[in-house]
Structure formats: C-alpha cells, structure tokens
Symmetry: C2
Subunit: 194 residues, 2 copies
C-alpha cells in the first residue's frame, strides 16, 4: 500500500503544500481493521488519529439500560477519532467498530502534537478538522430538535445511502433517536407514498 491517497487528501484541503503533505504523511502508519473489529473500545484512551481510505465504521455508546446508541457513521476520506478522549487523554465514552473491512492510516497523539508543533500548516489542518466536526454536529443537533423522525430519516438516506447496506436498521434507528419499530413504520410510510 502506498500513501498517495493520504498525501492527496492533505493537499486537497488547500491548507497544505505538496512537500508538507509528504512530510506529514510520512508519519502515518498503515492500519487495517477487519469487519466487526473495534478501532476503539469504551473506557480506553483513543490514541489513533485515523484517516480512513476504504470502508465503513460505526461509533456507538451504551446507555444505562445497556442498549447501543449509534452516535456516528464514517466512510472513506474522513478523519476519525474520539475528540475528547484523544485530546484530553481520558477514557472514551464510545466504541468505534468496523462495519466492513477497512484500510487507512494512523498517527498517535505524540506524533500529531509534534507535527502540530513543527508545521503551522498542519495546525491549520487540525483546527479545520475540529471545526468541521463541530459544525456538522451542530447541524445534526439543530435537525434533531427541529425536524420529525421521518424527515431526519430521509435526510440520512440522501446523505449516506451506502451505510444502509452495512448496518441493521436498529442502529440507524438509535442514531435517529427512535426505536427500530418506529423506523420500520416510517420506512413503510415513505415507500408507500413514492
């Protein structure tokens, strides 16, 4: 495996020059996550800042009743890590598990900080990742308190149709904040009408 995709990813942000992108990518190691394997386990400190080149991941937390609440779906081209755990060096609230076989590139906390320290361009990149994650979460929050479950379902279907292939509907239901029973009914309604 070679790092061209990773290098191109950094360049495409328009924050990082080609030479810096190469230098940064040199610090990353190849990472394979087989289907159903955990990339991160709740309670552990997240120490991998992952660029996903191929595959799909799901993040989930366990609520008090022991049910899994899906908090995110991730696909190729994304940076994936548990923000709070990674930067605060505290136990993760959630798990991240592979929905399919995955390939990507990782760097650890120390390496990341070293790069941040030496390369201002990469600091900008790091910030942009945080800002992007924050904005997306904020949009999701607004949608959740504003829109009906049916609307949120349709939006998810538009935005990330691929995940429906890899994940049972109950995971999508918990991500949407409803039960699998309700999701089943919503799907019936939606398909009936179109």
């Amino acid at each position: 495996m070679h790092k061209e995709t990773l290098i191109r990813f950094f360049q495409n942000t328009n924050l990082i020059s080609f030479s810096s992108a190469t230098e940064i990518a040199a610090q990353f190691s190849s990472k394979i996550i087989l289907k159903n394997q955990f990339q991160l386990t709740a309670g552990k400190i997240c120490d991998e800042y992952l660029f996903l080149e191929k595959g799909y991941l799901r993040a989930f937390a366990n609520n008090t009743e022991g049910n899994e609440i899906t908090t995110g779906f991730y696909s190729q081209g994304q940076i994936i890590f548990e923000v709070s755990s990674f930067f605060n060096r505290t136990g993760s609230q959630e798990n991240i598990q592979a929905l399919t076989d995955c390939e990507g590139w990782v760097i650890n906390y120390e390496q990341l900080n070293n790069l941040f320290h030496t390369l201002p361009e990469f600091r900008e990149f790091g910030r942009s990742i945080l800002v992007k994650g924050y904005s997306e979460l904020k949009n999701r929050m607004l949608s959740t308190i504003t829109e009906s479950a049916e609307v949120r379902y349709k939006q998810l279907l538009m935005a990330k149709p691929e995940i429906f292939q890899y994940v049972p509907l109950k995971n999508i239901a918990s991500y949407l904040g409803i039960t699998d029973t309700s999701l089943s009914r919503i799907r019936k309604e939606v398909s009936k009408r179109k």
Copy 2:
C-alpha cells in the same frame, strides 16, 4: 475595569503561565453588551472571540418558518463565539443576543491567530476550548436522542437554573426541541409531583 478576572481565567486552565496569561490578556479589549443587543447577527462574520465576565447570552437560529430556535445559553466564565463563522470567515448561521447587560473581553480573528502563532500555550488553550465545546455538544446530542423531553427539561433546570429568570419559556422549549405548550404541560406535571 481591569483584566484580573480574565488573567485568572487563563491561569486556571492550567495550560497558561502567569506571564503568558498577562501577555494574552493584554490583547483583549473591553466589551459591553446591553440587554437585548446583538453580539452577533446571522449572516455576518463572527469576528469577536468573547470572554464573558458578567451576564447572560442566548444564541438562536431562525428556521424555515421564521421561528427562533434557541441553540445555546451562555453565562459568565465562558468563551463565546460562533465556531464555524469565526474560523471559516463565513456568515454566521445564528444570532447571539444579550439576555442581560453583559461585560466581557474580546479579541479578533487576526489577533487570535497571532497569539496562536507566537504562544504554544495559547494554542493549547484554543484547542481545549474547541474540544470542550465539541464534547458538550456531543453530550447534548446524546441526551436529546436518548432522553424524554421531561428528563431533558429537569437536567437543564439543574444545570442552568439562572437562565429561567431571564428567558421566556418558549425559548427554553425550542432549545429542548419541543413546543412551548408541551413545556408548559411538563412543568405542570413536574411541579405537581414534587
């Protein structure tokens, strides 16, 4: 007005030494926001990174029907700015308005970046602010898709009792993702039972 509170705030993060805190605080300017005044207007670029020393603020967006959806409440001791607008230099999605007369300290985008550039300690601080905001939003998201409106209401009442003095219930309702009618009924239920 003097900057002691601001300097102490930086020091208390345990990320910044006293001399750096003084140096950083020197870049901030005093800011007064009178009750009902806007600290930020939707569509404008947020160019003030605000430390609030006194008072209360509310952030809200307008949905498609033109209703105000409250997205946040802020009080003294917090850093307040619209993350995406500030860092991406794009128009803000939301408004930030004073619920009471406010006093604080502000710095603009350029000054902030200069400080980030020259003071690694302050970069750490900046990152910690983003990470904290992200974590809190994530917790709120989880609570929203997981808990009933009544539970969320009680949690808000515990966490930020003061805001109830300054804000009409319909704003709290939209923050919780319910109508003012429902909130009124929930309050009735809760008060009846205790």
